[in-house]
Protein backbone atom coordinates (compact mmCIF):
# COMPACT_ATOMS: atom_id res chain seq x y z
CA UNK A 1 0.00 0.00 0.00
CA UNK A 2 1.17 3.49 -0.74
CA UNK A 3 2.43 5.34 2.26
CA UNK A 4 0.65 8.56 3.11
CA UNK A 5 3.60 10.17 4.88
CA UNK A 6 7.31 9.56 5.03
CA UNK A 7 7.13 9.10 8.78
CA UNK A 8 4.90 6.05 8.96
CA UNK A 9 6.36 3.00 10.68
CA UNK A 10 5.51 -0.68 10.56
CA UNK A 11 4.17 -1.65 13.96
CA UNK A 12 5.61 -4.85 15.31
CA UNK A 13 3.48 -7.10 17.42
CA UNK A 14 6.16 -9.52 18.49
CA UNK A 15 5.95 -11.27 21.82
CA UNK A 16 8.43 -10.20 24.46
CA UNK A 17 11.17 -12.66 25.20
CA UNK A 18 11.75 -13.72 28.79
CA UNK A 19 14.47 -11.18 29.46
CA UNK A 20 12.46 -8.44 27.84
CA UNK A 21 9.40 -9.34 29.87
CA UNK A 22 11.39 -9.05 33.07
CA UNK A 23 12.03 -5.47 31.98
CA UNK A 24 15.46 -5.17 33.61
CA UNK A 25 17.63 -4.26 30.59
CA UNK A 26 15.19 -1.57 29.54
CA UNK A 27 14.96 -0.27 33.08
CA UNK A 28 18.72 0.04 33.43
CA UNK A 29 18.87 1.84 30.08
CA UNK A 30 16.21 4.24 31.27
CA UNK A 31 18.02 4.87 34.51
CA UNK A 32 21.14 5.91 32.67
CA UNK A 33 19.11 8.44 30.75
CA UNK A 34 17.62 9.96 33.88
CA UNK A 35 20.91 10.12 35.77
CA UNK A 36 22.37 12.08 32.88
CA UNK A 37 19.66 14.65 33.39
CA UNK A 38 20.46 14.75 37.09
CA UNK A 39 23.73 16.51 36.32
CA UNK A 40 22.49 18.68 33.48
CA UNK A 41 22.30 22.42 33.69
CA UNK A 42 19.00 23.47 35.23
CA UNK A 43 16.68 25.55 33.10
CA UNK A 44 14.71 27.00 36.00
CA UNK A 45 14.39 30.76 36.23
CA UNK A 46 13.99 31.93 39.81
CA UNK A 47 11.06 34.28 39.61
CA UNK A 48 10.93 36.97 41.05
CA UNK A 49 14.69 37.49 41.54
CA UNK A 50 15.35 36.66 37.92
CA UNK A 51 13.08 37.54 35.08
CA UNK A 52 12.91 36.08 31.66
CA UNK A 53 13.21 38.70 28.97
CA UNK A 54 9.92 39.10 27.21
CA UNK A 55 9.57 39.81 23.54
CA UNK A 56 9.21 43.43 22.44
CA UNK A 57 5.77 42.70 21.13
CA UNK A 58 4.63 40.73 24.18
CA UNK A 59 0.90 41.22 24.67
CA UNK A 60 0.55 42.09 28.34
CA UNK A 61 -1.51 44.61 30.24
CA UNK A 62 -3.01 47.51 28.31
CA UNK A 63 -2.10 51.16 28.42
CA UNK A 64 -4.23 54.12 27.38
CA UNK A 65 -1.84 56.57 25.73
CA UNK A 66 -1.68 60.31 26.03
CA UNK A 67 -0.51 62.47 23.17
CA UNK A 68 2.55 64.70 23.17
CA UNK A 69 0.74 67.44 25.08
CA UNK A 70 -0.48 65.04 27.71
CA UNK A 71 -4.08 64.81 26.50
CA UNK A 72 -5.89 61.47 26.54
CA UNK A 73 -6.05 60.13 23.03
CA UNK A 74 -9.14 57.99 23.52
CA UNK A 75 -12.27 59.43 22.03
CA UNK A 76 -14.66 56.82 23.37
CA UNK A 77 -15.59 55.64 19.93
CA UNK A 78 -16.17 52.15 21.24
CA UNK A 79 -14.40 50.35 18.42
CA UNK A 80 -12.13 48.53 20.85
CA UNK A 81 -15.10 47.29 22.85
CA UNK A 82 -16.79 46.21 19.67
CA UNK A 83 -13.78 44.33 18.40
CA UNK A 84 -13.07 42.65 21.69
CA UNK A 85 -13.90 38.95 21.32
CA UNK A 86 -14.01 38.49 25.07
CA UNK A 87 -16.24 41.50 25.68
CA UNK A 88 -13.83 42.70 28.31
CA UNK A 89 -14.06 46.43 27.65
CA UNK A 90 -16.79 48.70 29.02
CA UNK A 91 -16.87 52.45 28.70
CA UNK A 92 -19.07 55.45 29.35
CA UNK A 93 -18.59 58.43 27.08
CA UNK A 94 -18.97 62.10 27.92
CA UNK A 95 -18.61 65.42 26.13
CA UNK A 96 -15.60 67.60 26.74
CA UNK A 97 -16.52 70.87 28.54
CA UNK A 98 -14.88 74.16 27.65
CA UNK A 99 -11.67 74.51 29.60
CA UNK A 100 -10.89 70.80 29.46
CA UNK A 101 -9.08 70.99 26.15
CA UNK A 102 -5.77 70.31 27.85
CA UNK A 103 -7.15 67.03 29.23
CA UNK A 104 -8.81 65.37 26.28
CA UNK A 105 -7.78 65.40 22.67
CA UNK A 106 -11.21 65.19 21.08
CA UNK A 107 -14.67 66.52 21.94
CA UNK A 108 -15.74 63.16 23.24
CA UNK A 109 -13.87 61.21 25.86
CA UNK A 110 -14.37 58.25 28.16
CA UNK A 111 -15.31 59.09 31.74
CA UNK A 112 -15.23 55.45 32.64
CA UNK A 113 -13.04 53.01 30.77
CA UNK A 114 -12.79 49.57 32.24
CA UNK A 115 -11.13 46.37 31.15
CA UNK A 116 -11.97 43.17 32.94
CA UNK A 117 -8.60 41.47 33.11
CA UNK A 118 -10.19 38.12 33.92
CA UNK A 119 -12.10 38.16 30.66
CA UNK A 120 -9.36 39.61 28.50
CA UNK A 121 -7.51 37.05 26.44
CA UNK A 122 -4.76 39.47 25.43
CA UNK A 123 -5.46 38.98 21.78
CA UNK A 124 -4.58 42.55 20.89
CA UNK A 125 -7.68 43.14 18.79
CA UNK A 126 -8.47 46.33 20.69
CA UNK A 127 -5.08 47.67 19.78
CA UNK A 128 -5.69 46.83 16.14
CA UNK A 129 -9.13 48.36 16.13
CA UNK A 130 -8.32 51.69 17.73
CA UNK A 131 -8.31 54.49 15.12
CA UNK A 132 -6.72 56.96 17.53
CA UNK A 133 -3.71 54.99 18.65
CA UNK A 134 -5.02 55.27 22.13
CA UNK A 135 -4.84 51.73 23.40
CA UNK A 136 -1.83 49.47 23.28
CA UNK A 137 -0.85 46.23 24.88
CA UNK A 138 2.46 46.37 26.72
CA UNK A 139 5.01 44.05 28.25
CA UNK A 140 3.71 44.79 31.74
CA UNK A 141 2.02 41.92 33.55
CA UNK A 142 -1.34 41.94 35.29
CA UNK A 143 -0.66 41.42 38.99
CA UNK A 144 -2.24 38.52 40.78
CA UNK A 145 -5.01 39.40 43.22
CA UNK A 146 -7.24 37.73 45.75
CA UNK A 147 -10.61 39.19 44.69
CA UNK A 148 -12.41 39.12 41.39
CA UNK A 149 -13.47 42.72 41.75
CA UNK A 150 -9.94 44.04 41.75
CA UNK A 151 -9.35 42.63 38.31
CA UNK A 152 -11.56 45.26 36.73
CA UNK A 153 -9.01 47.85 35.76
CA UNK A 154 -10.27 51.42 35.46
CA UNK A 155 -8.69 54.50 34.00
CA UNK A 156 -6.58 54.96 37.13
CA UNK A 157 -4.58 51.88 36.19
CA UNK A 158 -4.79 52.04 32.44
CA UNK A 159 -4.03 55.65 31.52
CA UNK A 160 -0.31 56.30 31.42
CA UNK A 161 1.20 58.94 33.71
CA UNK A 162 1.37 62.58 32.66
CA UNK A 163 5.10 63.04 33.21
CA UNK A 164 6.99 62.58 29.96
CA UNK A 165 9.67 60.36 31.46
CA UNK A 166 7.15 57.97 32.99
CA UNK A 167 5.24 57.41 29.77
CA UNK A 168 5.09 53.86 28.56
CA UNK A 169 7.13 53.23 25.46
CA UNK A 170 5.15 51.37 22.82
CA UNK A 171 7.25 52.40 19.84
CA UNK A 172 8.53 48.83 19.43
CA UNK A 173 5.01 47.59 18.84
CA UNK A 174 4.42 49.80 15.87
CA UNK A 175 4.89 48.34 12.43
CA UNK A 176 7.07 50.14 9.86
CA UNK A 177 3.88 51.05 7.98
CA UNK A 178 2.49 52.82 11.03
CA UNK A 179 5.73 54.68 11.64
CA UNK A 180 5.77 55.77 8.00
CA UNK A 181 2.17 56.93 8.29
CA UNK A 182 2.92 58.88 11.44
CA UNK A 183 5.60 60.92 9.71
CA UNK A 184 3.00 62.64 7.58
CA UNK A 185 2.08 65.49 9.88
CA UNK A 186 -0.55 66.79 7.47
CA UNK A 187 -3.02 64.15 8.47
CA UNK A 188 -5.17 65.22 11.42
CA UNK A 189 -4.52 61.92 13.06
CA UNK A 190 -0.88 62.78 13.47
CA UNK A 191 -1.20 66.36 14.58
Amino acid sequence: MEKLTGRSKVVSNKKLSFWESIYLPAIIGGMFITIKHFFRKKVTINVPEQTRKRSDVYRGMHVLKRDDEGRERCTACGLCALSCPAEAITMVAAERKPGEEHLYREEKYATIYEINMLRCIFCGDCEEACPKEAIFLTDRLVESEYKRKTFIYGKDLLVEPLEKDKRIDVSKRQTPEVLEFKKNKKLTHNK
Binding site: F18, S21, I22, Y23, L24, I27, G30, M31, I33, T34, I35, H37, F38, R40, K41, K42, V43, T44, N46
Partner: protein, 343 residues
Amino acid sequence: MEFATILFKTILLFVIFVITLLVAMYATWAERKVAAFIQDRRGPNRAGPMGLLQPLADGLKMFMKEEIIPMTANRVLFIMGPSIAMTTACLTGAIIPWGGNLTINNKIYSLQITDLNIGILYIFAMVSIGVYGIMIGGWASNNKYSLLGAIRAASQMISYELAMGLSIITLVLTTGTLSLSEIVDQQQGWHWNIFYHPLGFIIFLICAFAECNRSPFDLPECETELIGGYHTEYSSMKLGFYLFAEYINMFISAAVISTLYFGGYHMPFIHHLDLSPNVMTLIGSAFFFLKIFFFIFLFMWVRWTLPRFRFDQLMNLGWKRLLPLGIINMFITALIILLNEYL
Protein backbone atom coordinates in the same frame (compact mmCIF):
# COMPACT_ATOMS: atom_id res chain seq x y z
CA MET B 1 19.49 -7.02 82.57
CA GLU B 2 21.42 -4.42 84.43
CA PHE B 3 20.35 -0.86 84.74
CA ALA B 4 23.16 0.43 82.50
CA THR B 5 22.15 -1.89 79.67
CA ILE B 6 18.53 -0.90 79.96
CA LEU B 7 19.48 2.76 79.96
CA PHE B 8 21.69 2.29 76.92
CA LYS B 9 19.00 0.41 75.03
CA THR B 10 16.40 3.03 75.89
CA ILE B 11 18.62 5.82 74.66
CA LEU B 12 19.43 3.84 71.53
CA LEU B 13 15.74 3.15 70.96
CA PHE B 14 15.00 6.84 71.24
CA VAL B 15 17.87 7.84 68.98
CA ILE B 16 16.88 5.32 66.31
CA PHE B 17 13.28 6.48 66.49
CA VAL B 18 14.30 10.10 66.02
CA ILE B 19 16.71 9.21 63.23
CA THR B 20 13.99 7.21 61.49
CA LEU B 21 11.58 10.12 61.63
CA LEU B 22 14.25 12.58 60.53
CA VAL B 23 15.36 10.46 57.62
CA ALA B 24 11.76 9.93 56.54
CA MET B 25 11.12 13.67 56.81
CA TYR B 26 14.11 14.58 54.75
CA ALA B 27 13.38 11.78 52.32
CA THR B 28 10.31 13.76 51.28
CA TRP B 29 12.57 16.73 50.67
CA ALA B 30 15.13 14.61 48.86
CA GLU B 31 12.41 13.04 46.78
CA ARG B 32 11.37 16.43 45.48
CA LYS B 33 14.95 17.49 44.91
CA VAL B 34 15.77 14.31 43.01
CA ALA B 35 12.60 14.62 40.97
CA ALA B 36 13.47 18.19 40.11
CA PHE B 37 17.08 17.43 39.24
CA ILE B 38 16.11 14.56 36.99
CA GLN B 39 13.66 16.84 35.24
CA ASP B 40 16.22 19.66 34.85
CA ARG B 41 14.53 21.73 37.53
CA ARG B 42 15.78 22.98 40.89
CA GLY B 43 13.16 21.73 43.32
CA PRO B 44 12.23 23.34 46.63
CA ASN B 45 14.55 26.25 47.35
CA ARG B 46 12.39 28.82 49.10
CA ALA B 47 11.95 27.53 52.65
CA GLY B 48 15.37 27.88 54.22
CA PRO B 49 18.68 27.33 52.46
CA MET B 50 18.16 24.86 49.59
CA GLY B 51 14.60 24.42 50.79
CA LEU B 52 15.76 22.51 53.86
CA LEU B 53 12.84 23.74 55.95
CA GLN B 54 10.38 22.41 53.40
CA PRO B 55 9.54 19.24 55.36
CA LEU B 56 8.63 21.36 58.38
CA ALA B 57 6.41 23.53 56.25
CA ASP B 58 4.79 20.47 54.71
CA GLY B 59 4.23 18.95 58.14
CA LEU B 60 2.69 22.15 59.44
CA LYS B 61 0.43 22.28 56.42
CA MET B 62 -0.68 18.69 57.02
CA PHE B 63 -1.52 19.49 60.65
CA MET B 64 -3.42 22.64 59.80
CA LYS B 65 -5.63 21.05 57.16
CA GLU B 66 -9.22 20.26 57.87
CA GLU B 67 -9.77 16.81 59.22
CA ILE B 68 -12.63 14.93 57.69
CA ILE B 69 -13.99 11.57 58.77
CA PRO B 70 -16.80 10.45 56.46
CA MET B 71 -20.21 10.04 58.10
CA THR B 72 -20.52 6.42 57.09
CA ALA B 73 -17.01 5.43 58.04
CA ASN B 74 -16.24 3.25 60.99
CA ARG B 75 -14.53 5.80 63.21
CA VAL B 76 -12.43 3.42 65.29
CA LEU B 77 -11.08 1.51 62.34
CA PHE B 78 -10.69 4.71 60.36
CA ILE B 79 -8.26 6.01 62.94
CA MET B 80 -6.64 2.63 63.44
CA GLY B 81 -5.63 2.27 59.78
CA PRO B 82 -2.96 4.96 59.61
CA SER B 83 -1.85 4.20 63.17
CA ILE B 84 -1.11 0.59 62.28
CA ALA B 85 0.71 1.63 59.13
CA MET B 86 2.85 4.06 61.08
CA THR B 87 3.51 1.78 64.06
CA THR B 88 4.55 -1.24 62.05
CA ALA B 89 6.77 0.91 59.90
CA CYS B 90 8.58 2.21 62.98
CA LEU B 91 8.80 -1.18 64.73
CA THR B 92 11.01 -2.80 62.14
CA GLY B 93 13.95 -0.57 63.03
CA ALA B 94 14.30 -2.39 66.35
CA ILE B 95 16.13 -5.42 65.00
CA ILE B 96 18.42 -3.83 62.46
CA PRO B 97 22.04 -3.81 63.57
CA TRP B 98 22.92 -0.16 63.17
CA GLY B 99 26.55 -0.66 64.03
CA GLY B 100 29.11 -2.82 65.78
CA ASN B 101 29.91 -2.74 69.47
CA LEU B 102 30.56 0.31 71.59
CA THR B 103 32.73 -0.03 74.71
CA ILE B 104 31.71 2.30 77.52
CA ASN B 105 33.22 1.86 81.01
CA ASN B 106 34.64 -1.52 80.03
CA LYS B 107 31.22 -2.77 79.12
CA ILE B 108 30.29 -3.78 75.61
CA TYR B 109 27.06 -2.52 74.14
CA SER B 110 25.89 -3.49 70.69
CA LEU B 111 24.25 -0.90 68.49
CA GLN B 112 21.24 -3.07 67.87
CA ILE B 113 18.17 -2.59 69.97
CA THR B 114 17.35 -6.26 70.16
CA ASP B 115 19.10 -9.19 68.54
CA LEU B 116 16.28 -11.56 67.71
CA ASN B 117 17.44 -14.94 66.50
CA ILE B 118 14.54 -14.90 64.05
CA GLY B 119 15.23 -11.36 62.83
CA ILE B 120 14.27 -11.93 59.21
CA LEU B 121 10.99 -13.54 60.16
CA TYR B 122 10.27 -10.57 62.40
CA ILE B 123 10.71 -8.22 59.45
CA PHE B 124 8.37 -10.30 57.35
CA ALA B 125 5.84 -10.38 60.13
CA MET B 126 5.93 -6.61 60.49
CA VAL B 127 5.58 -6.06 56.77
CA SER B 128 2.59 -8.39 56.74
CA ILE B 129 0.94 -6.50 59.57
CA GLY B 130 1.53 -3.33 57.56
CA VAL B 131 -0.92 -4.77 55.05
CA TYR B 132 -3.58 -4.55 57.76
CA GLY B 133 -3.05 -0.82 58.01
CA ILE B 134 -3.87 -0.49 54.34
CA MET B 135 -6.73 -3.00 54.35
CA ILE B 136 -8.35 -1.50 57.44
CA GLY B 137 -7.97 2.00 56.03
CA GLY B 138 -9.67 0.98 52.81
CA TRP B 139 -12.40 -0.95 54.58
CA ALA B 140 -13.17 1.66 57.23
CA SER B 141 -13.61 4.43 54.67
CA ASN B 142 -16.81 2.73 53.52
CA ASN B 143 -16.08 3.73 49.96
CA LYS B 144 -15.99 1.26 47.09
CA TYR B 145 -12.98 2.88 45.51
CA SER B 146 -11.04 2.84 48.74
CA LEU B 147 -11.87 -0.79 49.27
CA LEU B 148 -10.87 -1.72 45.75
CA GLY B 149 -7.69 0.28 46.15
CA ALA B 150 -6.94 -1.44 49.42
CA ILE B 151 -7.52 -4.88 47.93
CA ARG B 152 -5.25 -3.97 45.07
CA ALA B 153 -2.53 -2.75 47.39
CA ALA B 154 -2.87 -5.74 49.70
CA SER B 155 -2.84 -8.29 46.90
CA GLN B 156 0.24 -6.63 45.46
CA MET B 157 2.06 -6.76 48.76
CA ILE B 158 1.10 -10.33 49.46
CA SER B 159 2.09 -11.51 45.98
CA TYR B 160 5.49 -9.94 46.17
CA GLU B 161 6.12 -11.18 49.66
CA LEU B 162 6.23 -14.71 48.24
CA ALA B 163 9.03 -13.99 45.83
CA MET B 164 10.77 -11.99 48.51
CA GLY B 165 10.58 -14.94 50.87
CA LEU B 166 12.07 -17.23 48.22
CA SER B 167 14.99 -14.90 47.64
CA ILE B 168 15.60 -14.77 51.38
CA ILE B 169 15.55 -18.57 51.63
CA THR B 170 18.62 -18.76 49.42
CA LEU B 171 20.32 -16.34 51.73
CA VAL B 172 19.36 -18.37 54.75
CA LEU B 173 20.63 -21.52 53.03
CA THR B 174 24.14 -20.16 52.74
CA THR B 175 24.34 -18.16 55.96
CA GLY B 176 22.56 -20.77 58.04
CA THR B 177 20.97 -18.23 60.36
CA LEU B 178 17.95 -15.98 60.61
CA SER B 179 19.58 -13.48 62.93
CA LEU B 180 20.47 -10.23 61.26
CA SER B 181 23.52 -9.56 63.42
CA GLU B 182 25.01 -12.92 62.48
CA ILE B 183 24.29 -12.36 58.81
CA VAL B 184 26.12 -9.05 59.03
CA ASP B 185 29.03 -10.59 60.90
CA GLN B 186 29.52 -13.14 58.15
CA GLN B 187 29.95 -10.35 55.61
CA GLN B 188 33.13 -8.80 56.97
CA GLY B 189 35.53 -7.34 54.47
CA TRP B 190 34.39 -8.04 50.97
CA HIS B 191 32.27 -11.11 51.72
CA TRP B 192 29.12 -9.25 50.85
CA ASN B 193 26.16 -11.45 50.05
CA ILE B 194 25.48 -9.59 46.83
CA PHE B 195 28.45 -11.42 45.26
CA TYR B 196 27.04 -14.81 46.20
CA HIS B 197 23.38 -14.06 45.47
CA PRO B 198 23.17 -11.57 42.61
CA LEU B 199 19.91 -13.00 41.28
CA GLY B 200 18.44 -13.26 44.75
CA PHE B 201 19.39 -9.66 45.36
CA ILE B 202 17.64 -8.47 42.22
CA ILE B 203 14.50 -10.37 43.14
CA PHE B 204 14.66 -9.01 46.67
CA LEU B 205 15.17 -5.46 45.42
CA ILE B 206 12.22 -5.63 43.04
CA CYS B 207 10.04 -7.07 45.76
CA ALA B 208 11.19 -4.41 48.19
CA PHE B 209 10.04 -1.79 45.70
CA ALA B 210 6.67 -3.48 45.49
CA GLU B 211 6.36 -3.87 49.26
CA CYS B 212 7.02 -0.17 49.80
CA ASN B 213 4.44 0.67 47.14
CA ARG B 214 7.12 2.58 45.34
CA SER B 215 7.11 3.27 41.65
CA PRO B 216 6.85 1.40 39.31
CA PHE B 217 4.63 -0.54 41.70
CA ASP B 218 2.89 2.49 43.20
CA LEU B 219 -0.58 1.45 42.13
CA PRO B 220 -2.09 2.36 45.50
CA GLU B 221 -1.43 6.01 44.95
CA CYS B 222 -2.41 6.80 41.39
CA GLU B 223 -4.82 9.63 41.86
CA THR B 224 -5.84 10.35 38.33
CA GLU B 225 -6.58 6.90 37.00
CA LEU B 226 -7.74 5.10 40.10
CA ILE B 227 -8.93 7.81 42.49
CA GLY B 228 -6.12 7.39 44.94
CA GLY B 229 -6.85 3.98 46.32
CA TYR B 230 -6.96 3.04 49.97
CA HIS B 231 -6.39 6.55 51.29
CA THR B 232 -8.97 8.32 49.13
CA GLU B 233 -11.08 9.37 52.12
CA TYR B 234 -8.20 10.41 54.32
CA SER B 235 -7.32 13.99 54.95
CA SER B 236 -4.86 16.07 56.95
CA MET B 237 -2.39 14.22 59.18
CA LYS B 238 -4.07 10.84 58.78
CA LEU B 239 -3.20 10.95 55.13
CA GLY B 240 0.15 12.33 56.23
CA PHE B 241 0.69 9.25 58.38
CA TYR B 242 0.09 6.94 55.45
CA LEU B 243 2.46 8.83 53.24
CA PHE B 244 5.00 9.20 56.02
CA ALA B 245 4.81 5.49 56.80
CA GLU B 246 5.74 4.87 53.21
CA TYR B 247 8.89 6.93 53.59
CA ILE B 248 9.78 5.15 56.81
CA ASN B 249 9.26 1.84 55.03
CA MET B 250 11.59 3.01 52.33
CA PHE B 251 14.25 3.87 54.88
CA ILE B 252 13.86 0.52 56.63
CA SER B 253 13.92 -1.38 53.34
CA ALA B 254 17.11 0.41 52.37
CA ALA B 255 18.55 -0.57 55.74
CA VAL B 256 17.46 -4.20 55.32
CA ILE B 257 18.87 -4.39 51.82
CA SER B 258 22.21 -3.02 52.96
CA THR B 259 22.22 -5.36 55.93
CA LEU B 260 21.36 -8.50 54.03
CA TYR B 261 23.32 -7.99 50.85
CA PHE B 262 25.85 -5.20 51.30
CA GLY B 263 27.60 -6.05 54.51
CA GLY B 264 25.63 -3.76 56.81
CA TYR B 265 27.97 -1.65 58.90
CA HIS B 266 31.09 -3.45 57.73
CA MET B 267 33.49 -1.36 55.80
CA PRO B 268 36.21 -3.04 53.78
CA PHE B 269 39.79 -2.01 54.64
CA ILE B 270 38.76 -0.44 57.93
CA HIS B 271 40.91 -2.84 59.89
CA HIS B 272 44.05 -1.53 58.20
CA LEU B 273 43.41 1.95 59.52
CA ASP B 274 44.47 1.16 63.07
CA LEU B 275 41.63 2.93 64.88
CA SER B 276 40.21 2.46 68.33
CA PRO B 277 37.22 0.08 68.36
CA ASN B 278 34.72 2.78 69.30
CA VAL B 279 35.74 5.06 66.45
CA MET B 280 35.67 2.09 64.13
CA THR B 281 32.12 1.32 65.20
CA LEU B 282 31.01 4.87 64.59
CA ILE B 283 32.68 5.02 61.18
CA GLY B 284 31.02 1.71 60.38
CA SER B 285 27.62 3.12 61.31
CA ALA B 286 28.25 6.17 59.16
CA PHE B 287 29.19 3.90 56.29
CA PHE B 288 26.01 1.91 56.89
CA PHE B 289 24.00 5.12 56.59
CA LEU B 290 25.81 5.98 53.39
CA LYS B 291 24.68 2.67 51.95
CA ILE B 292 21.15 3.34 53.17
CA PHE B 293 21.12 6.76 51.56
CA PHE B 294 22.34 5.26 48.34
CA PHE B 295 19.43 2.83 48.33
CA ILE B 296 16.95 5.56 49.19
CA PHE B 297 18.35 7.46 46.25
CA LEU B 298 17.96 4.35 44.12
CA PHE B 299 14.30 4.17 45.13
CA MET B 300 13.83 7.74 43.98
CA TRP B 301 15.92 7.35 40.89
CA VAL B 302 13.76 4.45 39.75
CA ARG B 303 10.60 6.31 40.64
CA TRP B 304 11.44 9.19 38.35
CA THR B 305 12.56 6.88 35.56
CA LEU B 306 9.83 4.33 35.22
CA PRO B 307 6.16 4.65 34.48
CA ARG B 308 3.69 2.77 36.60
CA PHE B 309 2.81 -0.86 35.85
CA ARG B 310 -0.64 -1.91 34.82
CA PHE B 311 -2.21 -4.19 37.41
CA ASP B 312 -2.13 -7.32 35.25
CA GLN B 313 1.47 -6.64 34.29
CA LEU B 314 2.25 -6.26 37.95
CA MET B 315 0.68 -9.59 38.82
CA ASN B 316 2.30 -11.29 35.84
CA LEU B 317 5.71 -10.07 36.87
CA GLY B 318 5.19 -11.18 40.43
CA TRP B 319 3.71 -14.62 39.86
CA LYS B 320 4.98 -15.70 36.46
CA ARG B 321 8.48 -14.24 36.46
CA LEU B 322 9.82 -13.50 39.90
CA LEU B 323 8.33 -16.51 41.63
CA PRO B 324 9.75 -19.08 39.14
CA LEU B 325 13.05 -17.21 39.10
CA GLY B 326 13.13 -17.34 42.88
CA ILE B 327 12.45 -21.09 42.89
CA ILE B 328 15.13 -21.73 40.27
CA ASN B 329 17.56 -19.59 42.22
CA MET B 330 16.77 -21.53 45.35
CA PHE B 331 17.33 -24.89 43.67
CA ILE B 332 20.61 -23.82 42.13
CA THR B 333 21.87 -22.53 45.47
CA ALA B 334 20.79 -25.70 47.24
CA LEU B 335 22.47 -27.81 44.58
CA ILE B 336 25.74 -25.92 44.91
CA ILE B 337 25.69 -26.32 48.66
CA LEU B 338 25.05 -30.04 48.33
CA LEU B 339 27.83 -30.45 45.78
CA ASN B 340 30.19 -28.55 48.04
CA GLU B 341 29.44 -30.91 50.87
CA TYR B 342 29.78 -34.17 48.99
CA LEU B 343 32.62 -33.42 46.59
